[in-house]
């Protein structure tokens, strides 16, 4: 018997519409209304400016460690724009720009990274999950949400984010496998930013693309220029439409780059070259989108200043918030408070009555900062 090919449908496309030189494929250009284009660009600018501001806040010790998004604005905004408000958004830990788009207030995100519980709390009508730290664990949740939505008869699509590193985790594969078998309306957005902390993509996988991993699970995958807002949106719109029409899941690999640190506790000069970063800076999604809007005469004067003022107001609101109430340690452990926690809470309350806590900034310094973390005013003196 001869060997017969049985799976000849191996096809992975790379989609690029607006490249870093500014050339535009008008045949593929999605028809985005001018008002939306303005909102999208503004969201990218907000993502970038807040990111920069948050890095400074972290360096000053006003918020804790977080994962900056610089360079990934198009991948996030282009994809999340394809969702309806009633759809579900499942982030990893590096989706600040997409979360802002979904309606997380800036001060809430600051709260989140200042370690306050309310920072992780989506509004009751918001169909968003909080960030997740264990890599890839959010992907099965996305499938569960989609299953539950079908079970209940809700007309929703679930969009779930992860990084390139996450594609090596078991939960990534288990989630994709489930999504394929169940044919659920999930769009997996992989932000391939080339690095998982210090591990480059080539040490993460021997696969030519991450998009092709979807094929093994029986659904389509597409690779897009993740720094091209139009390409990301075009692919996401198509995937969301497929999901909504019962055609099952899609994986979108956004080829992008993390221009900044992995988290504020990281020093990337230890593992990657300046030349590499510079080469990617030339593909920065922001100037590319800006030039596109400029050509269409859609750029608003003073946009950056407006955005900065919005951030400044939010930072001010955040700064006036009191430290977390010590007794909240015992909140949300269980849906109700069992006797043993009630007892511990009463004991802490009594102890605090005798020795009231000082404000966090009066506390003694943390002994050793995390590797790469600079000593900050709050912790250094």
């Amino acid at each position: 018997m001869p060997r017969t090919p049985i799976e000849p449908r191996f096809k992975i496309e790379y989609l690029s519409i607006l490249d870093s030189e500014g050339s535009l494929d008008t045949a593929l250009e999605p028809d985005i209304p001018p008002g939306d284009l303005k909102r999208l660009y503004r969201a990218m600018v907000l993502g970038r400016r807040l990111d920069e501001r948050m890095v400074r806040l972290q360096r000053q010790g006003r918020i804790g460690t977080f994962a900056p998004i610089k360079g990934q604005e198009a991948a996030q905004i282009g994809s999340v724009f394809a969702l309806r408000r009633t759809d579900w958004m499942v982030p990893s830990f590096r989706e600040t720009a997409a979360m802002l788009w979904r309606g997380w207030p800036i001060e809430k995100l600051l709260c989140l990274f200042a370690g306050r519980l309310e920072g992780g709390q989506p509004a009751p009508d918001q169909h968003d999950l909080p960030i997740t730290i264990p890599v890839a664990t959010q992907l099965p949740h996305a499938v569960g949400l989609a299953y539950a939505a079908q079970y209940r008869g809700d007309d929703v699509v679930v969009m779930a984010y992860c990084g390139d590193g996450a594609t090596s985790e078991g939960d990534f594969h288990e989630a994709l496998n489930f999504a394929g078998v169940w044919h659920v309306p999930v769009v997996f957005v992989v932000q391939n930013n080339q690095w998982a902390i210090s591990i480059p993509l080539k040490k993460q996988t021997h696969s030519a693309t991450l998009a092709q991993k979807a094929l093994g699970y029986g659904f389509p995958g597409i690779q897009v220029d993740g720094n091209d807002l139009l390409a990301v949106y075009a692919a996401s719109r198509e995937a969301v439409a497929r999901a909504r029409h019962g055609e099952g899941p899609t994986l979108i690999e956004c080829v992008t780059y993390r221009l900044g640190v992995h988290t504020t506790a990281d020093d990337p000069t230890r593992y990657r070259s300046d030349e590499e970063v510079k080469a990617w800076e030339r593909k920065d999604p922001l100037p590319r989108a800006r030039a596109y809007l400029e050509k269409k005469n859609l750029l608003d004067d003073g946009l950056e200043e407006q955005v900065d003022a919005e951030i400044a107001r939010a930072v001010e609101r955040f700064e006036t918030m009191a430290d977390a109430d010590p007794l909240t340690i015992f909140d949300h452990v269980f849906a109700e408070r069992p006797a043993h926690l009630e007892a511990q809470r009463a004991e802490l309350r009594e102890r605090l009555g005798a020795d009231p806590p000082r404000r966090v900034d009066e506390e003694r310094p943390l002994p050793t900062p995390m590797r790469g973390q600079r000593k900050t005013s709050r912790w250094a003196n």
Partner: protein, 326 residues
């Protein structure tokens, strides 16, 4: 009251809760057509259909994560682990998400999830299938942990677990599925989580034991009664939250205690029970508390070795005699 097996009691609990609440659904490996590795889900596919009795690919972490996701959208998943030993593959989803999501979401998403299946030593299931898995879970804030010893408890506690708003780890036993007992018929019969029960009243010594060890202790108690010793047996039933009060009151009455656990000992359930007895009832004790545990080794496959590895009646009796004669 009807007399039924532990397995039938679990099945009835699932059936009643699925009839009562359309949000309840069952998911796991082989739970549908095959009706469960131990036939606990017998007949459910037929009655409730594929949407509510869901066969999954073999992926404990994946289907637990899917359960967490579904719970966030308001469903009440009951997941079956073929054996709880495989729940180790889902440990991250249970510990880091099921138990933490309410907290991480600032109170927004509670996870009304039940993870159930058999665990603990059985008959020649060997090293990777015989572990007392509760040890991996009761340490985790946010999880409730149940070990039901009788058919009535199996039914009443499983129903409470399904109605609970938190993730509940519900560990049955292969050795108990065929045990028969009286079970209330009332579909509203439940047993609250967190209530221990005095299985046998006595005055000389309190023995704390659950599952197979509880039955073994009962036999020992009958034998020692012939020597004039009066043994009280308390079964915690729920390990988290633990009903410390019932256990401590019993010790205050008898002034002596023996704690039995089937697992490998070190930092096992017995350690915790022993410490709260000592913390809360030290002055009432007439003798140091004795702890009887399995040997600190993997479970052997050979039957003769397996019997030596788990606490035997002789070992339990010796511990009881020791505290009573101290």
């Amino acid at each position: 009251m009807a007399v039924m097996t532990y397995r039938e009691a679990l099945n009835l609990a699932l059936r009643e809760e699925m009839r009562r609440d359309p949000r309840v659904f069952v998911m796991g490996e082989e739970v549908g057509l095959y009706e469960g590795a131990y036939r606990v889900t017998q007949g459910l596919l037929k009655e409730f259909g594929e949407k509510r009795v869901v066969d999954t690919p073999i992926c404990e972490s994946g289907f637990t994560g899917v359960g967490v996701g579904a719970a966030m959208l308001g469903l009440r998943p009951v997941l079956e682990m073929m054996t709880f030993n495989f729940a180790i593959l889902a440990l991250d989803q249970i510990v880091n998400t099921a138990a933490k999501m309410l907290y991480m979401s600032g109170g927004q998403y509670n996870i009304p999830l039940v993870v159930r299946g058999p665990g603990g030593p059985a008959a020649q299931l060997a090293a990777q299938h015989s572990q007392s898995m509760e040890t991996y879970f009761y340490h985790v804030p946010g999880l409730k942990v149940v070990r039901p010893s009788t058919p009535a408890d199996a039914k009443g506690l499983l129903k409470s677990a399904i109605r609970d708003e938190n993730p509940v780890i519900f560990i049955e036993s292969e050795t108990l599925y065929a045990v028969k007992g009286e079970v209330p018929d009332d579909p509203d019969f439940t047993i609250p989580l967190g209530q221990a029960i005095v299985r046998r009243e006595g005055t000389d010594v309190t023995v704390v034991a659950y599952m197979g060890m509880m039955y073994r202790a009962m036999e020992v108690a009958e034998e020692l009664a012939r020597e004039g010793m009066s043994v009280e047996i308390v079964d915690p039933r729920t390990l988290r939250p633990m009903d410390t009060q019932t256990i401590v009151s019993s010790v205050r009455k008898t002034h002596r205690a023996v704690v039995i656990e089937a697992g490998a000992g070190f930092a096992g359930m017995g350690s915790e029970i022993l410490s709260f007895i000592t913390e809360q009832a030290f002055d009432d004790l007439d003798a140091p508390v004795e702890r009887v545990t399995g040997e600190n080794a993997p479970m052997p496959y050979a039957r003769n070795l397996e019997l030596l590895k788990t606490p035997s009646k002789a070992k339990i009796a010796a511990a009881i005699r020791k505290v009573c004669n101290a």
